[in-house]
């Protein structure tokens, strides 16, 4: 077989359904790494206001000698934003393709596939809406009761509203489902699954999804129960 270059790698990748899945898998890995780092950072809330606000400030001065104030943070923001755009574009393209592939549905609906797998699309939409709210609330302070406060003050003020705290916890459940299927699915997409490994990989992904959700949700729960003031 002669290996010759056909079109360029971008159209070659975006031009096939599996290529779009490669994009979703790679951007998914970026989200996962971010979410893990973010969760570990958030847990500093339990070390008190000073530590947490210092951490928030540290995020902004990190690498400032080279990238300037908030430089690293902006690089992360740009990478995440680009990943969100690509992840969603691929997801909507495959969603549309799926709608097209079955113009007439079944009278008697079947229920094959796990709950997490079947709710990836709407679950993803919920997480995206959550992230928008979340930035307005804790980063920009637009919808926060204490918009002028530091990171710690904003967080406590926000979760003092039970509805908001519950909304956060629900979003974390959605995130946990998304990761539980998404991590395994990404490994399968990148060619790393096999019949022997499948069970272990699926279990591992569920554990990662649950640990992340619990790691995030423990904060609004603690504020609600007065453990973090």
């Amino acid at each position: 077989m002669v290996l010759t270059q056909q079109r360029n790698i971008v159209t070659r990748t975006w031009g096939s359904s599996v290529g779009k899945k490669f994009v979703m898998a790679v951007t998914g890995v970026i989200f996962l790494l971010y979410v893990i780092a973010h969760m570990i950072g958030n847990l500093k809330i339990f070390f008190g206001q000073e530590t947490f606000d210092a951490y928030s400030e540290h995020l902004r001065t990190l690498g400032a000698e080279i990238f300037g104030y908030e430089g690293v943070l902006w690089i992360i923001r740009v990478v995440l934003l680009a990943s969100v755009v690509l992840h969603m574009a691929a997801a909507f393209s495959l969603w549309y393709k799926a709608k097209r592939a079955r113009p007439v549905g079944y009278q008697h609906k079947g229920h094959q596939g796990s709950y997490a797998a079947r709710t990836m699309r709407w679950g993803g939409v919920i997480i995206a809406l959550f992230v928008i709210w979340h930035i307005l609330d804790l980063t920009l302070g637009t919808v926060n009761p204490d918009p002028a406060g530091g990171a710690y003050a904003k967080l406590v003020a926000s979760f003092d509203r039970p509805i908001v705290a519950i909304f956060y916890i629900v979003a974390m459940v959605a995130l946990s489902f998304h990761i539980s299927h998404g991590l395994w699915s990404g490994i399968q997409t990148l060619g790393g699954n096999s019949a022997v490994k499948q069970h272990a990989l699926k279990s591992f992904s569920i554990v990662v999804g649950v640990v992340i959700a619990v790691g995030f949700a423990i904060i609004p729960v603690s504020v609600m129960f007065g453990l973090v003031r």
Partner: protein
């Protein structure tokens, strides 16, 4: 056994179909599902009505013809079993059973439960073959194949092309079928020359024919009568990734 059937009836490809109710009072639990439909059709013919059209051929689970969705599950409730091998003892007296055709744009309904599945033939033509020189048959031991590859290739080769994977998939994707072929041929030494181009060519054809894109839901492997593992899709993805990065092309 007394069984109530609700069957999709559609005169032809362009007609609007609907579910039609039939009652059967004398179903034997040792009948296969197709034999039960034969009994229904005898009754319909005697009454001067149009019998229910359905595909069938071998009736022993190897040809892949007997396509129908039974109570929302392609090939019905019994795991690793085609409709023709499904027996009525898996249902209860008084049950109502819904029977529908495969639903996919790439598998248009021709009549009642019969769909046109030639789209699968087109996927095979796009790359589901190995190139072999004509002439006398080669000596069988000339090309050694290790035991694991031989076994896995054989397991993948048991795919009968029934299309249940497409029917079950919420995306209407034919990924498990294509992956079974890519696994079967790609594991064997004879399949190596076309390994990368096979994966991208068959995938491109599947995309072009309006099958959906796979999102690893796994419904396909749950209903596959031959137990083709979901992980074979990972092997297909692996070959597609390699071909995409290398820029392999078929012509």
């Amino acid at each position: 056994m007394r069984i109530t059937l609700r069957v999709w009836r559609q005169k032809n490809a362009d007609a609007k179909g609907k579910m039609e109710k039939y009652k059967l009072d004398d179903v034997d639990e040792d009948m296969s599902f197709l034999e039960m439909l034969d009994v229904l059709n005898e009754k319909l013919i005697l009454q001067g009505e149009d019998p229910v059209s359905f595909d069938h051929d071998c009736r022993e689970g190897i040809c892949g013809s007997c396509a129908m969705v039974i109570n929302g599950t392609p090939h019905g409730p019994q795991k690793n079993t085609t409709t023709c091998q499904l027996h009525m003892r898996h249902f209860k007296d008084g049950d109502t059973i819904d029977v529908e055709p495969w639903r996919a744009r790439a598998f248009p309904v021709i009549k009642d439960l019969v769909t046109d599945r030639s789209a699968f033939d087109q996927i095979i033509q796009a790359g589901g073959y190995v190139s072999v020189n004509t002439g006398s048959a080669p000596e069988a031991h000339a090309t050694p194949v290790d035991k694991v590859s031989a076994d896995d290739a054989f397991d993948a080769a048991t795919c009968i092309g029934c299309g249940a994977c497409v029917a079950a998939c919420p995306n209407g994707s034919s990924m498990l079928f294509t992956a079974a072929k890519v696994t079967h041929l790609g594991l064997l030494p004879q399949g190596q020359p076309e390994r990368q181009t096979r994966a991208i060519s068959m995938l491109a054809k599947q995309d072009e024919l309006d099958f959906g894109g796979c999102t690893n839901v796994g419904a396909c492997a749950e209903v596959c009568p031959k137990g083709i593992p979901l992980a074979s899709i990972s092997r297909l993805n692996h070959d597609v990734l390699g071909a995409t990065l290398a820029g392999a092309r078929a012509d």
